[in-house]
């Protein structure tokens, strides 16, 4: 279970034995209700086989991904405390870097993104065109985070992270749940979302709680080629272990081994189990329409997955 801290007391990093800090204060309206924060649309699915499902389209943010929620909340809190912050380091598989570049450019804040070598150069053009530096290194997110730690120490820069090491990541994602509470108009039975380290799903659930709604079933979807959380769920484990085998998926953005921070996965596992949800492993194939949940529900994003025999999906 996380250690609850106040908004003013929140700090970067983990606690004793890797404990996760979670901000007890509500996400302020300035981060979600203010007109400057355009809500992402909740779209009724017209896809055959997905009747009754609604899609929370997180591609409509200014930089194209939900990372804007994390970056806006984190930079807002950081710069309020430390207006003379010399710069930030952003480990990323693409989206976080693009989002951070957009927000840092508007604040004249130097930034360095660290991305895995597999991220296409074209994907990084929005970062460099906004004045951000990009370092390409390593295989996946875990290696990017490890190098980012060292670079941040070397430069004296702030760590602008999307894992639970940054308590503002999950806090910022609460805006998804708060928006859903205002948009849905009918009960939400379950949430399906792709999960990497997990702040998006946990933050969404905490946002619904902030809005006074019960948590629906949480369904965490991971790529079969790198699924530490779904594997632990299937095995009945209480803790998530890092994924040390080969990574075999094209869904690189969520292929996080969780090396050095498996407690992030354990936090997701706890939330999924508490909601009577499930963790799923799926191959990255565009066949979502054939096996998506058919009861009235909401997808926080549009993971693509292939059916597995015996699965309810």
């Amino acid at each position: 279970m996380p250690i609850t801290v106040s908004r003013s007391g929140a700090a970067f990093g983990y606690g004793p034995d890797g404990a996760i800090f979670e901000i007890g204060d509500d996400l302020p309206e300035a981060y979600w209700a203010h007109p400057a924060n355009a809500w992402t649309p909740l779209i009724a699915s017209r896809i055959p086989g997905l009747e009754g499902v609604r899609l929370k389209y997180e591609g409509s943010h200014l930089s194209g991904s939900f990372k804007d929620r994390i970056m806006a909340a984190t930079l807002g809190e950081l710069l309020a405390r430390q207006p003379d912050c010399p710069g930030v380091v952003v480990p990323s598989s693409g989206n976080a870097a693009v989002s951070a570049a957009a927000l840092c450019a508007g604040r004249n804040l130097p930034m360095v993104a660290i991305v895995p070598l597999a991220v296409p150069v074209e994907r990084l053009a929005p970062v460099t065109s906004r004045g951000g530096l990009v370092v390409r290194a390593g295989e996946g997110p875990s290696e990017a985070y490890a190098l980012a730690d060292r670079l941040a120490d070397d430069l004296g820069f702030f760590r602008l992270y999307s894992t639970f090491a940054s308590p503002w990541a999950e806090w910022g994602c609460r805006s998804i749940g708060l928006e859903l509470a205002g948009q849905s108009g009918s009960p939400i039975s379950q949430i399906v979302a792709p999960v990497s380290a997990g702040p998006v799903l946990v933050g969404l659930a905490n946002g619904l709680a902030q809005a006074g709604l019960d948590s629906p079933r949480l369904i965490a979807v991971q790529a079969a080629g790198c699924a530490p959380i779904a594997r632990a769920f299937a095995a009945g484990d209480d803790r998530v272990a890092p994924w040390l085998g080969a990574v075999d998926t094209k869904a690189a953005a969520i292929a996080d081994r969780l090396v050095n921070y498996p407690q992030d996965g354990t936090r997701v596992l706890e939330m999924v189990r508490a909601s009577h949800g499930i963790g799923l492993m799926r191959s990255a194939m565009p066949s979502l329409r054939r096996r998506a949940p058919r009861s009235c529900g909401t997808m926080a994003s549009t993971p693509s997955f292939r059916p597995v025999p015996g699965s309810p999906f």
């Binding site: 360095v112 065109s129 004045g131 530096l133 370092v135 390593g138 190098l147 430069l155």
Partner: protein, 56 residues
């Protein structure tokens, strides 16, 4: 974006994807390659991560 002289207080610009592509002139802070920061990052990579590449 290039014709800044046309802008006045109270102006609202509608930014379509096409409009952005054809008018954006790279009006962004320049922390990029060649800056002092880039030099520091390259020095760090040389010591700590020789296999890493600074994108240029």
């Amino acid at each position: 974006m290039r014709e800044k002289g046309a802008a006045q207080a109270g102006t609202v610009c509608v930014i379509t994807a096409s409009g952005f592509k054809h008018t954006f002139a790279g009006d962004a802070p320049q922390n990029g390659a060649g800056s002092d920061l880039a030099v520091k990052v390259e020095q760090f990579l040389g010591r700590a991560a020789p296999g890493a590449l600074l994108l240029r």
